[in-house]
């Protein structure tokens, strides 16, 4: 979707404000709790990481831009909990809930390290031959999906070159919507800065994205 999250090339957000390397990982206690809540609830397996991203980017733009990053996470998590029926809207509003036994998939403390070590690999075997080879010229399709996609707006319609073939990977556009992993071949596609930004491009600039096969067409 053309949501507030799709920031590449947007203007007006000001200076970067780098913070030093010794700055704390979390700037407030609630940030740490927000991260941990998101990971623990994710371990229940009721939705995919792609669906989590879609919940965050579906926040209204004014909310998204007004929130710090972990606040975006928490708002996305709240939406998913209600959507999937783990918490009712009334429980969320009132905070009144009955004590319940541990969910069978609740992540226990001693399972945290193995779960983090396992991660969630997204590579999948594919039977089909690659449509593109390294060196091929391709155009990023002009698409404006209402649902989740990982093809950023700033490359749509531009011509680039296939640089690498990474084999099959879970397709976020379906996986975010409960429509299955539908793996597709993933490529690194590199663009000359001028193909994206025209005469406004900085000199000597190349930019790459990782793009699923259906995002691309021969050029």
């Amino acid at each position: 979707m053309n949501g507030p999250h799709d920031l590449g090339g947007q203007m007006g957000f000001g200076a970067i404000n780098p913070e030093g390397e010794s700055a704390p990982v979390f700037h407030a206690g609630w940030e740490a709790r927000a991260l941990a809540l998101t990971l623990c609830v994710g371990a229940l397996g009721r939705w995919t990481l792609d669906e989590s991203r879609h919940a965050r980017e579906s926040l209204p733009p004014a909310v998204y831009y007004g929130a710090s990053y972990y606040e975006i996470w928490i708002r996305g998590l709240e939406a998913l909990l209600v959507k999937h029926g783990l918490i009712s809207a009334e429980e969320m509003a009132t905070g009144q809930v009955a004590e319940a036994a541990a969910h069978p998939r609740r992540l226990p403390a001693d399972a945290v390290a193995p779960a983090l070590a396992r991660g969630g690999p997204t590579d999948r075997p594919l039977q089909t031959a690659p449509r593109f080879q390294p060196g091929d010229k391709v155009r990023a399709k002009v698409i404006h999906k209402r649902g989740h996609t990982r093809l950023p707006r700033y490359v749509r319609g531009a011509v680039g070159m296939i640089e690498a073939d990474h084999g099959g990977h879970v397709f976020p556009d379906t996986n975010a919507h409960g429509q299955g992993e539908a793996p597709q071949r993933l490529y690194t596609v590199v663009f000359d800065g001028r193909a994206l930004w025209g005469d406004d491009a900085e000199p000597g600039l190349h930019i790459s994205v990782d793009a699923w096969e259906s995002y691309l067409e021969p050029a």
Binding site: H5, L7, G8, G9, Q10, F13, A15, I16, N17, P18, E19, E21, V25, F26, W30, A32, R33, L35, A36, L37, L39, C40, V41, E57, Y65, E71, I74, L77, L81, M92, V97, A100, A102, H103, L107, A109, V112, A113, L116, R118, G119, G120, P121, T122, D123, R150, L151, P152, H166, H169, L196, W197, E202, G204, L205, I207, S208, V209, D210, A211
Partner: protein
Amino acid sequence: MPHDHSEHDNHLDPIDARVRALETILTRKGLVDPAAMDRIIQTYSEDVGPKNGAQVVARAWSEPGFADWLAQDATAAIGSMGFSGRQGEHMQAVFNTDAVHNLVVCTLCSCYPWPVLGLPPTWYKSPAYRSRAVYEPRAVLAEFGVTLREGQNVRVWDSTAELRYLVIPQRPAGSEGLSQAELAGLVTRDSMIGAGLAQVPS
């Protein structure tokens, strides 16, 4: 969430109160174990961070065979040092050279190689960095105090899928003869994102 300035006000930030309320609900409903949350927080506060990535870089600088492995199969090479798992399932190492300086961003969210760098700094997740890194990376680098050498091109890697990128900065002049541990001390977090350079030994 309303912020009630009564004399019983505990002065919680609205967002702090919101997260506490959600944790209470989820804990009472048996969906979350607070001890597991503590374990996650401890992992990313104390155990996993850019010191891991610095060891990878120092080894790549010291052992050409390891650098080759890193270039060919970064997931395996980094995994052999014990750094693997969530948000590092599919790694790619990109090497800075005299010709090209690499910079990593995630314009769509905040994708970042957790096993080698830990959790991303605030600026990496900010709209300012995410919007500008692909459009005007030299201007962005200047705000980090980085000036590239004449003729050095810039390559920006937008992490739009599940590949996670680790920049291998150039080995600084004057670092000959240092041990791997000493070399690792020169490798900053920002240099492994491409927003900085490795430190020159004093």
